[in-house]
Amino acid sequence: MADIITSPHISGHADHHDVDYLHDGKGLKSWLTTVDHKRIGVMYLWSILFMFFLGGVFAMMIRLELLTPKETIMSAETYNKVFTLHGAIMVFLFIIPSVPAALANFVLPLMLGAKDVAFPKLNLFSWYIYMAGALIAIAAMVTGGVDTGWTFYTPYSTTTDGSVALMTFAAFVLGFSSILTGVNFVATIHKLRAPGMGWFDMPLFCWGIYATALIQVLATPVLAITLLLLIMERTFGIGIFDPKLGGDPVLFQHFFWFYSHPAVYIMILPGMAIISEIIPTFSQKTIFGYRAIAFSSVAIALVSFIVWGHHMFTSGQSQLASAIFSFITFFVAVPSAIKTFNWIVTMYKGSVAFNAPMLYALSFLLLFGIGGLTGIFLGAVSVDIHLHDTYFVVAHFHYVMMGSTVIAFLGGLHYWWPKMFGRMYSEPAARIACALVFIGFNATFLPQFVLGSRGMPRRYYNYLPEFQALHQASTVGSWILGLGFLIMAGYLFASLRKKMDAPANPWHSRTLEWQTASPPITHNFHEVPSVGGGPYDYYRPVGTGRNA
C-alpha cells in the first residue's frame, strides 16, 4: 500500500490549511466540538486510560487484601465492591472501547486512505455517550457502590443493596456507544476505502476491526435488553429472573452470556488485529496467510455467537446443552491456532527488529498461547466442572483479556504513539517497562492456575491457610506489574513534553497511516491516495506496485 500514486507531501510545511490535527484549533472547545476522528480517538484514549488506571488501583487493592486470609486492609463488604468495580470498569469502560474506540478510531480511516470515518458527528456523539456512561458508573460507585460481580447474576443482583440499577444503567448506556462505533466502522470499511484498495488490500487490522464491529452491532443490543429487564425487576418488582416473583435466574445467565461471550471476542479480535500489523512491520515481511488470518477473524466472530453455554456447564442447564456447547467451543481453537502459527511464521526469513511494539507482540504470542491452551481445559466438560468458578478461570481469562488484549493494546499504543502525538518515547525505558509488565503479569497469574486446580474458588475474601503461599506469590507479582505501568506512564508523559521529533514513518511500515506526516494533518492526506499494492509488500522497493 505504500504506493501512493498521488504523492503526499510528507515533509508537511504548514500553511494554515495543512497544520497538523493537534494544532488545528486551540482550546477545550475546539476539542469538545471536533468531528475529526483523530481528535475523538485521542479523547477516547485519555478517557479509557483514566479508567484503566482506576480499574488498576482496584486490582492492586484486591491483591493486597488477598495477601493474608481474613481482613488485611478492608472488610468483606468493601472487598466485594472492589472486585465488582474492578471487573465492571475494566470490561465496560476500558477493554471493550480500548482498541476500537481509541486506537482504531485514530488509525482505521488513515489505513483506508480516508479523510474520516463514515459518520464523523455520530463518532463524536458516541464519545459523549461513553462519557455519560462513565459518569453514571462513577455516580453508582460513590452512591453506595455495587457488590454483585461484573456479571450481575440474579437473584443476588436484584435483592442486594447498593446502586445496582445505576451501574447496570451505565453499562446499558455504554452499550450504545459501542454499537454506534461499530456501525460507523462497518460503514467506513465498506464505503471509504481508497481508490484501488480491494477488501484483500486492506491491512489485517481493518479485518479484525470489521469482525469486531459486526459483533458489537449484533450482540450488544441483547445486553441492553437484559440489563433493562434487570433494572425493571429490581426497580418495579416485575418478575423475570427471580423465582420468588415467578422468574428464572438461569434465563438471566443465558441472556447475559449471549452478549458477554461474543464480547470476549469484541475484546480479543482487536488485539489480534494489532498483532497482525506489528509483526509484519517489525519483520519487514509479507504477512503469512493473509486470507487465513482475515477469514479466521470472521470465523471467530461467527462461532462466538453459539458458544455462550460454555459459561454455564454447572448452571443447571441440561446435559445435552452442555455437550453441544462444549463441542462447538472447541472449534474456536482452530482459527486461534491458525493465527498463532501464521504470526510466528511471518518472521521466517524476515528482518526482525526488537523495538518496544515488537516486544509486546512477542509477549502476546507467548501469553495468548497460555491463554488459548488453558481455554482447552475449560472447554472439556468434565475438567470444567472442577475448574469452573475457581482461580483457574480467573487466571485463564486474565491471560486472554490482559495478557493478550491489553498487551496488544500496549503494543499498538507504542506502535502508533509517534503517529498520534508526533513524538518518540524513550526506547530503553519502554523495553524495561515491557519486561516488567511481562514478568509481573506472569508472576501474578501463573500461580492462580495452580490455586484454581487445587480448588480455590474465585470471589473469595477469606481463604484456607493452605492457599496462602500461592496468593502471596500472586500479590508480589502484582507489584512488579504495577511498577512496569508506573515507568510506562513516566516515559509516555515525558515524551509529550518534548518537541515533536517523530518521523512520518519511524518503523518503515508500508501501510497508509505511515505515508502521511506524524502527526497527520486534519484531512489525513493532502490528496486522496490511490493504492497500487498490498499492505505488506516488503518484498519490493517502495513505489513499484501494480499502478506504478
Binding site: Y156, Q284, R291, T314, Q319, M347, K349, S351, S382, P457
Partner: protein, 313 residues
C-alpha cells in the same frame, strides 16, 4: 509425575476424580508441548532473522496451503478427541446409580443444611458412607450458591426454586472440604462445609447417635463446635465486633433493644426463640436476615450454644 499431579490438583476423593485428573494432566502435557513449540519457534525465528542491516527487502512468502492445512487439521483432531474424553466422563458422572443414598441439601446465606433419608438433619457437616454412590438433591432458599467438593472434582450451582442433583461415589475415608463456588455476598468465602466419608458402621451409628464426640464434651465445648460448624460464626462475632448479627460477647444477661422499641433481657428462652424464630424480635440496628434453625439443633447442641454464649462475657 505423581507429585506434580498431587501438587497441582490436591487430594482425590473418588475414582471419578482420578478420571478427571487423567484428562487434566493430559491437557497439561499437551499444553506444555505446544507452549514449548510456540516459544521455540518464536525465539528461534526472531533471533535467527534478527535485523542485521536496515532497508533490506525480504522474500514474498504469502502462504503455503499444505502447512496451513496441517496446523488447522492437527489441532482440530486433537480437540475433537479432548471433547469426547471430557464429554464421556461428564455424562457417566451425571447419572446417579439406583442404589445411591439421596441426601437433600439446602443452601442459604451463608450455610449448608443437610437432610438424610431417615430424617436426620445437620448443618455444615455432611456424613456419607464410603464406597456408596451419593446423590445430593440441592436447592437454595435465597440466591444462587454452588456446592463444590474439590476432592470429588464435582460441583453444581444451587438454584432457588429448582432442584438440581450432584452425584459422587467417595472412596477415600476422612474429612473433605466443601466450598460455595457461586458468589453470594458478604460471607460467601465462609460458606463452607465438611464432608465426612465414614465406614458404613460408623455412618449408621452416627445417624442414630449424632456426633460421638459431642456426648462426652462439656456443654461449653459443644456450644463452641455448634458456633463454628452450624454457621453462627458467619454473622455473629465472639469478640464484640459488629457483624451481620449482634456479637455473642457480653450478650447473655444484657437488656436488648429491639427495632420496635421494646426491650428484653437475654436469657435461655430468648436465645432459643432467636434460633428457632429469628424474625420474632429484631435487635435495633440489624437487618432481619437470619434464617430459622428450627429442628436443626439437637437438645444437647441447644444447651451447648446457650452455655457458650453465657461464657462469652
Amino acid at each position: 509425575m505423581d507429585s506434580i499431579r498431587h501438587w497441582m490438583l490436591g487430594p482425590q476423593g473418588s475414582a471419578y476424580a482420578n478420571n478427571v485428573d487423567d484428562l487434566y494432566m493430559f491437557l497439561v502435557w499437551l499444553s506444555v508441548f505446544f507452549f514449548v513449540l510456540i516459544v521455540f519457534l518464536t525465539v528461534y525465528f526472531a533471533w535467527k532473522y534478527r535485523r542485521r542491516k536496515e532497508g533490506v527487502l525480504t522474500p514474498n512468502i504469502s502462504h503455503n496451503l499444505a502447512l496451513e492445512l496441517l496446523w488447522s487439521i492437527i489441532p482440530l483432531i486433537i480437540v475433537m478427541g479432548i471433547f469426547f474424553w471430557g464429554f464421556n466422563d461428564y455424562v457417566r458422572a451425571s447419572v446417579a446409580p439406583n442404589d445411591a443414598i439421596e441426601i437433600h441439601v439446602t443452601g442459604k446465606k451463608w450455610l449448608w443444611a443437610f437432610e438424610y433419608p431417615d430424617g436426620t438433619r445437620t448443618i455444615g457437616n455432611l456424613h456419607v458412607p464410603v464406597n456408596r454412590p451419593v446423590k445430593l438433591i440441592l436447592t437454595s432458599e435465597d440466591v444462587l450458591h454452588d456446592f463444590y467438593i474439590p476432592s470429588m472434582r464435582q460441583k453444581t450451582d444451587v438454584i432457588p426454586g429448582r432442584f438440581v442433583d450432584l452425584t459422587f461415589t467417595p472412596t477415600v475415608p476422612g474429612k473433605h472440604q466443601v466450598f460455595c463456588a457461586e458468589y453470594c455476598g458478604k460471607s460467601h468465602s465462609d460458606m463452607m462445609a465438611n464432608l465426612f466419608v465414614d465406614s458404613p458402621e460408623v455412618y449408621e451409628k452416627w445417624l442414630v447417635e449424632g456426633d460421638p464426640e459431642l456426648q462426652q464434651m462439656p456443654p461449653v465445648e459443644v456450644g463452641k463446635l455448634v458456633y463454628e460448624n452450624k454457621g453462627c460464626n458467619s454473622c455473629h462475632s465472639i469478640d464484640g465486633s459488629k457483624n451481620t448479627g449482634p456479637s455473642f460477647k457480653g450478650l447473655y444477661g444484657r437488656m436488648e433493644k429491639f427495632a420496635d422499641g421494646t426491650t428484653q433481657m437475654v436469657d435461655d428462652n430468648y436465645i432459643v426463640e432467636s434460633i428457632n424464630n429469628p424474625q420474632a424480635k429484631i435487635v435495633a440496628g440489624y437487618e432481619p436476615v437470619m434464617p430459622t434453625f428450627q429442628g436443626l439443633l439437637r437438645t444437647p447442641e441447644m444447651r451447648g450454644i446457650i452455655a457458650y454464649i453465657k461464657e462469652l462475657k
